[in-house]
């Protein structure tokens, strides 16, 4: 890796690491709910995990927004198509929930989790591409 690349990497926030932690929290919340439904289940752990994941997503975007000279054009070039792809995937998962008559609190928490998933994965893909935009 060149000196310039090393410099670029050094001043970038840990978007991938934070993104993976956020995804892990979403997945953990999803596993927790899936392991209990259709029986009654306390939503508190899933809500805590969802809020934590959403905060990490917001933090990731805020940290990226502060990076001087970040190649946003390349970022959004990739992000828009990745977003389309992951919205389709999230839509299919949501359809499976609705098909099985999931409703109420668990449906709301899982739907919001899918929203965070469908936004954060494109962010990770676009970030990985954009960080090497000037390599």
């Amino acid at each position: 890796m060149s000196e310039q690349d090393r410099g670029n990497t050094a001043r970038l926030p840990p978007v991938t690491q934070v993104g993976m932690l956020s995804l892990a929290m979403i997945v953990a919340g999803g596993i927790y709910l899936s392991a209990h439904i259709p029986e009654h289940v306390s939503l508190t752990p899933a809500i805590v995990l969802l809020c934590g994941s959403a905060l990490l997503l917001a933090g990731n975007l805020a940290a990226l927004a502060r990076v001087e000279g970040f190649p946003w054009r390349r970022f959004f070039e990739i992000a828009r198509w990745a977003l389309v792809a992951y919205l389709i995937i999230a839509g299919m998962i949501e359809y499976a929930f609705l098909r099985n008559n999931l409703s109420g609190g668990p449906l709301v928490v899982l739907t919001l989790s899918l929203v965070v998933f469908a936004v954060h994965v494109p962010v990770l893909i676009s970030f990985t591409v954009a960080r090497f935009a000037d390599s």
């Binding site: 060149s2 993976m20 995804l23 997945v27 999803g30 299919m92 998962i93 359809y95 990770l124 990985t128």
Partner: protein, 205 residues
């Protein structure tokens, strides 16, 4: 087919001293999109119909493809790619990776969506199911694989293709991203062994 040049590692200056030919390619192969659309439509239809045979078919075929690709890529192709000459590696990568962009998300989505529907139909998601602990174990294994694949593998796949599309790609970036891709494919391949254990246990009761 159009070709472009990739400079070899360590080459600096205005023009590459040693240039490698690479075939032209599409990052997302458009010809494959209708096939993906058909597969996803079949999955939606399978979930809507909610019959055991189509759901089992989609889950088993998707799961088999997912498992075999992960294992083959991580433990067979990965080491081979690592020992290839740079021109061969470049050509192989430009032909393999665009297909992976479409194949992996599709087989994963089909496997999980059909599997969830099948488990729900059979009552396997209920806590009263005798092997419910094994079902939850499968959620955990898939969850870990999903985080690795979505956070590391898929971004590396796209990024290496975008890098190779550039007029003058950086071989060091490609090398770094390919290593990440192969290592994460190996890690998910190892996790697939756990999937084998769980799924054979669930199938045999």
């Amino acid at each position: 087919m159009a070709h472009a040049a990739v400079s070899a590692p360590g080459v600096v200056g205005d023009g590459p001293l040693l240039a490698l030919e690479r075939p032209d390619f599409q990052i997302v192969p458009r010809a494959g999109l209708p096939i993906v659309a058909v597969v996803l439509a079949l999955t939606i239809a399978g979930i809507a119909v909610n019959e055991e045979w189509p759901l089992t078919f989609l889950h088993v075929v998707g799961g088999a493809a997912w498992t075999v690709i992960d294992l083959f890529l991580g433990f067979v192709l990965g080491p081979i790619i690592g020992r290839m000459s740079i021109p061969a590696r470049v050509e192989f990568t430009t032909r393999l990776m665009p297909k992976m962009v479409l194949i992996m998300p599709t087989v994963v989505t089909v496997t999980l969506a059909a599997g969830w529907q099948l488990a729900t139909k059979l009552g396997n998601t209920h806590t009263s199911y005798a092997l419910h602990g094994w079902i939850v174990a499968s959620y955990i294994v898939v969850g870990i694989m999903a985080v690795i694949a979505l956070g590391l593998l898929e971004p590396a796949n796209i990024a290496v293709l975008v890098e190779m599309k550039k007029p003058r790609p950086n071989p060091e970036v490609i090398e770094r991203l390919m290593k990440r891709f192969i290592y994460t494919a190996g890690a998910t391949g190892l996790m697939q062994v756990a999937t084998f254990v769980i799924m054979t246990k669930l199938a045999s009761g």
